[in-house]
């Protein structure tokens, strides 16, 4: 049974890591719904957030294969309930259209959109939220005409208590104890 998983891949900041991670998914014919890569809160540690749909068994297999990549520090696989996540979208629309009727009002009040730039020709609206909320706003604005639209990949924060820093310390410590399975996938 396929389910949505958010993979958080923490790695050293080396060239080629993204490629090494994605080929693991490609080999298994797992489609990437979204992907985001940036530096994490820990200096020198890179974070790749990938959203995939697959089975619970398969997600465990690919997590282990990702952790096998030498420069990968830790990989977490979370279901949507286990994380707080957001995506961001930007819409460029004609100012003339936006000023007609109650469109701007609806964007701001009902959809929680934010105007980030307003010029006589166009407005740029920012919307942060889950994919379905963004799609809802997209459908609304489509009716009135969109000049440009872009949506980001997912970013996510886990609900679990144990933080990455703790894992890193454990890895770094002389005893180098292995983290029991139960705490990895919970």
């Amino acid at each position: 049974m396929n389910q949505e998983y958010t993979l958080s891949v923490f790695s050293e900041d080396h060239i080629g890591i993204l490629n090494q991670i994605t080929i693991i998914l490609t080999r298994r014919q797992i489609n990437i719904d979204s992907i985001t890569a940036s530096e994490s809160a820990v200096k020198g540690v890179h974070l790749i957030t990938i959203v995939v749909r697959t089975t619970p068994e398969m997600v465990q297999k690919v997590v282990r294969q990702m952790e096998k990549v030498i420069d990968v520090l830790k990989v977490f696989a979370h279901t949507s309930e286990e994380i707080v996540y957001q995506e961001i979208a930007l819409f460029k629309v004609s100012t003339k259209v936006m000023m007609s009727g109650t469109i701007t009002d609806q964007v701001v009040r009902y959809h929680n959109g934010r105007l980030v730039e307003v010029t006589p020709e166009y407005m740029v609206i920012e919307k942060t939220g889950h994919k379905d909320e963004i799609i809802e706003l997209l459908h609304f604005l489509e009716k009135h005409g969109i000049l440009q639209f872009v949506r980001s990949g997912r970013v996510a924060i886990t609900r679990q208590v144990k933080e990455l820093n703790t894992y890193l310390k454990e890895m770094d410590s002389a005893t180098r104890s292995k983290i029991p399975e139960s705490t990895i996938y919970n």
Binding site: I15, G44, K61, R64, K68, L168, R176, K178, P180
Partner: protein
């Protein structure tokens, strides 16, 4: 992403020695005394420096980079030391790829050093430029490009550490030509720590205890041991564990030689062309103890019908192998030696005479229906099996055996009686035709045994036949046995069994192999009559230096038994 750990590599060309000299110094510091390779434009600075240390490092010039890769693997498999292989940029590097993939699938430590075009030309489609980092990424344990001389020590120290620790594997370091020429202040210390890589997994006694409970309560248990036993040098622990518990031991192809084949608890060789008893009885066992093996599809047959009644204990150092193909009840993610060492005190002294008698009954059936005809045929053409059996008897297991891939490999695995660890060099996971001859070059240079014997088919031999030149140049004393049936035998067997005997492109018109050997000044003989076989083998074994023995074998033989594709291991067929 930013470049290499935020370090500021100035690479300003100031310092004591060149990058190329640093590479050589590091090889010496890592205890490397034999390397295999092929020079070319971009790697010339390294080769130039190699000339200065001819007393310390023997470089073997193969006739093709693929040969160098396989030779380095053969060397690594018999010595337990990392193999080292050099190649130039572009085609030199891409010619290695089959050898790298082969080492990757069989977990063999080989450090590949390739040269790259000058750093300013990278990405411009320069002459002999390929993105070997991108190309080799899926088939290396780790790879790294070095663009300035001062990065060389760290990259190479990591390369040796990663290749040889944990589950071993090939690594590739790609060094630009300018980095080889630049100077650096050379300081070298061996790597023993990488934050993101922990090969020393602490043991969890809870899993060991759970395993012991399952073992102590089993009534039809079976040990299935693989290459991991040899890699972790756990042969003695395996022997002790088996003898204490009385549990029969079956081996995978790459596990052969990890347990003496003459031992009363030896249950045979597992897999598609393995022995009858361990394949059939896998599906009657109530407990499988898998040690250093990865449930390859050639071992498990149809997974849905694999070991339906068995609990499974899986000891493997690679966490990614646990639950990959077979769901396990107890996972011991650890080194085989350490796991067995801790497990032995917790298991009961036991014996399973009734269960072992079942193995012997199947053994007898296999002997009467298959083996007897294979090793003691009374008439007809020479059989592959009798050649292997005769060499096994005459060497008494005191030899290193190398094989190519196909029928020659399966027959050798079935009929050579291994008695010492690390005496088989073969291509398991990738099944690389052309592996045997170059791998035997490395095995010969790495082994102290009097005899290193390589069994090849006429097809595989001709894939890397040019390595006869290497054997000639360095007088490498390998005994080459060509089992010549003028067919790509294993493919022909499948055509026979599954494609209505339509032999599409499998028949070979072969040259005069004895004449070819003569051209390379290698003593050679062709045998077609059974009466001449023994004396010819004895002559080969008594010869110092290389020798080629071509044996004309029965043209159309099928290697049996066989677990047919899609079938369960218990549906293994004895006859076709």
């Amino acid at each position: 992403m930013k470049e290499n750990n935020n370090k500021n590599h100035n690479g300003n060309g100031q310092g004591e020695i060149s990058g190329a000299e640093a590479v050589i110094n590091i090889l010496i510091a890592e205890g490397v005394d034999t390397i295999f390779g092929y020079p070319g434009g971009a790697i010339m600075p390294i080769y130039d420096n190699l000339m200065n240390v001819e007393d310390k490092i023997t470089h073997v010039l193969t006739r093709h980079e693929q040969g160098a890769a396989h030779a380095a693997q053969g060397y690594a498999m018999v010595t337990g030391k990392p193999g080292v292989c050099l190649a130039t940029s572009g085609p030199g590097a891409t010619n290695l790829v089959t050898g790298i993939a082969n080492a990757y699938l069989d977990s063999v430590p080989v450090v590949f050093i390739t040269a790259q075009v000058v750093s300013t030309l990278i990405g411009t489609d320069a002459f002999q430029e390929t993105d070997i980092i991108g190309v080799s990424m899926p088939v290396t344990k780790w790879n790294c490009q070095v663009k300035s001389a001062d990065e060389i020590p760290e990259a190479l120290s990591k390369a040796f550490y990663i290749a040889t620790t944990g589950r071993p594997g090939p690594v590739l370091i790609d060094i630009t030509k300018d980095a080889q020429i630049q100077k650096l202040n050379f300081i070298y210390s061996k790597c023993d720590y990488i934050r993101s890589y922990n090969p020393h997994i602490p043991l969890h006694m809870k899993e060991i205890e759970s395993a012991a409970i399952l073992i102590n309560h089993a009534s039809r248990p079976m040990i299935i041991a693989g290459h991991g036993v040899l890699i972790s040098h756990a042969e003695e622990e395996l022997l002790k564990f088996a003898e204490k518990t009385g549990i029969p031991v079956a081996l995978t192809l790459l596990g052969l030689s990890a347990f003496p084949s003459s031992h009363r608890l030896y249950a045979g060789y597992l897999g598609m062309h393995g022995n009858y008893a361990p394949n059939v009885l896998t599906n009657q066992a109530d407990l499988l103890i898998a040690i250093g093996m990865r449930f390859d599809d050639r071992v498990t047959g149809n997974l849905k019908k694999y070991a339906p009644d068995a609990s499974v204990i899986h000891i493997d150092i690679d966490a990614a192998e646990i639950n990959k193909n077979v769901r396990v009840d107890v996972a011991i993610n650890n080194d085989a030696k350490e796991a067995l060492y801790n497990l032995i005190p917790l298991v009961n002294q036991n014996s399973y005479e009734k269960w072992i008698r079942e193995f012997r009954i199947y053994d007898k059936t296999e002997f009467d229906t298959v083996i007897k005809k294979d090793i003691k045929p009374e008439s007809g053409e020479i059989k592959m099996g009798e050649v292997v059996k005769m060499i096994s008897d005459l060497t008494k297991g005191d030899a290193v055996i190398v094989t190519d891939v196909g029928q020659n490999q399966m027959v050798t695995a079935r009929y050579y009686r291994f008695s010492e660890p690390n005496t088989l060099v073969t291509s398991g996971g990738l099944g690389t035709m052309g592996f045997g001859l170059p791998a035997s070059v490395g095995a010969r240079l790495g082994s102290h045994k009097k005899n290193v014997i390589t069994f090849l088919g006429d097809g595989g031999f001709q894939m890397t036949i040019q390595e006869l030149g290497t054997i000639m140049q360095y007088n490498i004393g390998v005994k080459i046995v060509i089992l010549n049936n003028s067919y790509l035998g294993m493919v022909r067997q499948w055509q026979d069994m599954f494609f209505s005997k339509r032999y599409a492109s499998t028949e070979m018109v072969n040259p005069d192999f004895v004449a070819i050997a003569a051209a390379y000044r290698i003593p050679a003989k062709k045998v077609s009559e059974r009466a001449d076989l023994e004396s010819s083998i004895k002559e080969m074994l008594a010869t110092d230096g290389p020798y080629l023995l071509e044996v004309t074998v029965e043209k159309e033989t099928n290697v049996m038994p066989m677990v047919q594709p899609g079938a369960s291991v218990s549906e293994i067929k004895l006859t076709h």
